[in-house]
């Protein structure tokens, strides 16, 4: 069980997740401090570790629209957040899979800040509202990358098998 800590609408851009002015910071170990930097309350909550790992962010359609900056995924991965959205923008989706950020595609999801959520293999269950919603599964290849622990490990295995 985990709590929804924030609810966004549609089209949350990578500039909102990780503003361009912090792009000189690249290492996944250093990016979390700037998560949602222009949303002071949310940034403070994360930086001060006021929410536990596994906490949930709810979003509408097209979460992660815009830039290819991988910092947008690594900054959220730093807090082990789980993003449940109606849909994701393509590059952000790939980056999340590659870095092992947990993202859930749930087109019908209904949830509000403070709701308790359980995620099973194929459902998002909102225990506060007593409702459940279907998850759209990742493609086989994406799931293999996730199961391997991300693209770095997956690629390493490929390289070693090539030899």
């Amino acid at each position: 069980m985990a709590k929804v800590i924030y609810k966004f609408g549609n089209d949350i851009s990578t500039d909102l997740i990780y503003p361009g002015r912090f792009m000189a910071t690249v290492l996944p170990s250093e990016t979390p401090q700037y998560a949602f930097a222009d949303n002071k309350d949310l940034n403070k909550m994360l930086v001060n570790k006021e929410v536990p790992e596994g906490s949930i962010i709810i979003a509408g359609k097209n979460f992660g629209t815009g830039s290819s900056r991988e910092q947008a995924a690594s900054t959220l991965k730093g807090y082990e957040l789980v993003i449940i959205a109606k849909s994701f923008a393509r590059i952000f989706y790939q980056n999340s899979v590659n870095l092992g950020l947990r993202i859930i595609i749930c087109p019908d999801c209904e949830a509000d800040k403070g709701d308790d959520i359980v995620i099973t293999g194929n459902k998002v269950i909102n225990t506060t509202k007593d409702m459940e919603f279907d998850i759209i599964p990742h493609s086989k290849t994406r799931q293999e990358i996730i199961d391997a622990g991300g693209l770095i490990v997956y690629t390493r295995k490929r390289l070693l098998n090539k030899k």
Partner: protein
């Protein structure tokens, strides 16, 4: 099996006759481009080799391009150090397609790649930049990827996880009216499709208006395909493509003209008659918030930006220079001009465009991404409004979440600089 252009490119890059829309393929990469974010790619690349006894060596250093453009010259010691580490890596790995901060060699990656002849029709181009879609203008399948995915490409030479995208065919009919340009076409299309209307799909452009469009305009159109969510934009290569590659990019070897099948299956078809278009504006804070200019004329502007991978090419600077020539920009507006490359900077200087712009009151900055992503020069003050030929107007984009960005063509930007408010260009002149 009949196929779209991207299906054909992917099939060839996979060593097959055909690929099906929706299947996951692992195409060989023709060119892999990064900018300053190569610093992160390097970090991830070395990580791949950790704990193995393999040598961390790029699969083919002749297929890597690294171009400094996002923060040039460096805005901070952090960036300068990243750039230094990348230079060392470039030497160590023997990367030749490296464009440092240097005279005619420098520029924005999405101008350097075409003008250097690095992109060919039928190529698979990946870049750690979402506007890598630009290179579809030359008939390549070009798309943005993240840094870790690029590290994997550097190691293997293939992209491991590419779903074959469906394609939307966009037929662009008619002839542009005076003062209406490719930027207006693509803004209009994004407004129609919405910012997610082409998500996970390709926009393949056809029609008379595309055939008559110079490569500079085609780059503008494909550059912003991603703003409709598209994986890529692509234009089948034609005489103009060959002309550009031979005469501007200096390509001398054989050019392979891969084309889509006439009866290929498309996800949907969109028809646009550009003769009906007026200048278009994307209003804050999403690129699909598009209106004809008549709806927004008179809005007071604090800063005008002409440049970027969308509209910093010689044609764009010429249009701006012709518009302001012999005039002065309004007292309380700043006009910033960023030529897209050192070569374009030199040409604009030689042709007198920069002189015209400076005489009017413009500041000519060095080639680079400039204020587009709010990381370097030209940040906005609280409550300020910018009018820009760049490609994004997200909240916070130009470095300040309390400012607003409107997007437009160079003609609108220059006409508005004279008046200090959003202004429809009226001058009667041919826009070739």
């Amino acid at each position: 099996m009949v196929q779209t252009l991207v299906q054909k490119i992917l099939a060839r890059a996979c060593g097959r006759d055909s690929v099906e829309v929706g299947e996951i393929v692992e195409p060989k990469v023709s060119l892999a481009m990064s900018h300053e974010n190569a610093a992160l790619v390097m970090n991830q690349f070395y990580d791949i080799y950790k704990g193995t006894n393999l040598d961390a060596k790029i699969w083919d250093s002749s297929k890597i391009a690294i171009i400094f453009d996002h923060r040039v010259p460096a805005e901070s010691s952090k960036t300068a150090t990243n750039q230094k580490l990348i230079r060392e890596f470039v030497k160590e790995q023997g990367i030749e397609k490296f464009h440092d901060i240097r005279g005619d060699k420098m520029g924005i990656c999405h101008q350097i790649l075409p003008e250097s002849g690095y992109v060919r029709p039928g190529a698979v181009v990946v870049g750690t930049d979402s506007h890598t879609t630009s290179h579809g203008a030359l008939g390549a399948f070009a798309f943005g990827i993240g840094a870790t995915e690029m590290a994997s490409v550097w190691a293997l030479g293939t992209v491991l996880n590419v779903p074959v995208p469906a394609t939307i065919k966009v037929n662009v009919h008619g002839k542009f009216k005076n003062n209406v340009y490719p930027k207006d076409l693509i803004l209009h299309l994004i407004g129609r499709l919405t910012n997610k209307g082409a998500n996970y799909k390709v926009l393949e452009f056809h029609g008379e208006a595309i055939e008559n469009m110079p490569t500079s305009g085609r780059l503008t159109v494909c550059n912003m395909a991603v703003e409709a969510g598209a994986t890529a934009g692509i234009i089948p290569p034609d005489d103009e493509t060959v002309n550009y590659l031979r005469n501007t990019a200096g390509v001398t070897d054989e050019i392979d003209m891969l084309l889509p099948d006439n009866d290929a299956e498309y996800d949907s078809v969109v028809d646009i008659d550009v003769a009906e278009l007026t200048p278009q504006i994307a209003r804050p804070h999403t690129v699909d918030n598009v209106a004809p200019i008549q709806d927004v004329t008179g809005i007071k502007i604090d800063q005008i930006v002409i440049g970027s991978c969308t509209n910093g090419r010689l044609d764009d600077i010429r249009i701006a220079a012709e518009t302001v020539s012999g005039k002065k920009i309004a007292d309380d507006v700043r006009l910033l001009v960023f030529p897209a490359s050192g070569k374009i900077y030199r040409q604009a200087m030689e042709k007198g465009y920069l002189m015209d712009l400076m005489n009017a009151g413009a500041v000519i900055a060095n080639p680079g991404c400039g204020p587009c992503l709010g990381v370097h020069q030209g940040a906005l003050g609280d409550g300020e409004k910018a009018l820009s030929t760049t490609n994004r107007n997200f909240k916070g984009r130009m470095g300040n979440p309390d400012a607003e960005v409107y997007l437009c063509s160079p003609a609108v930007a220059a006409a508005s600089a004279i008046k200090g408010v959003i202004t429809e260009p009226k001058e009667e002149k041919e826009n070739g």
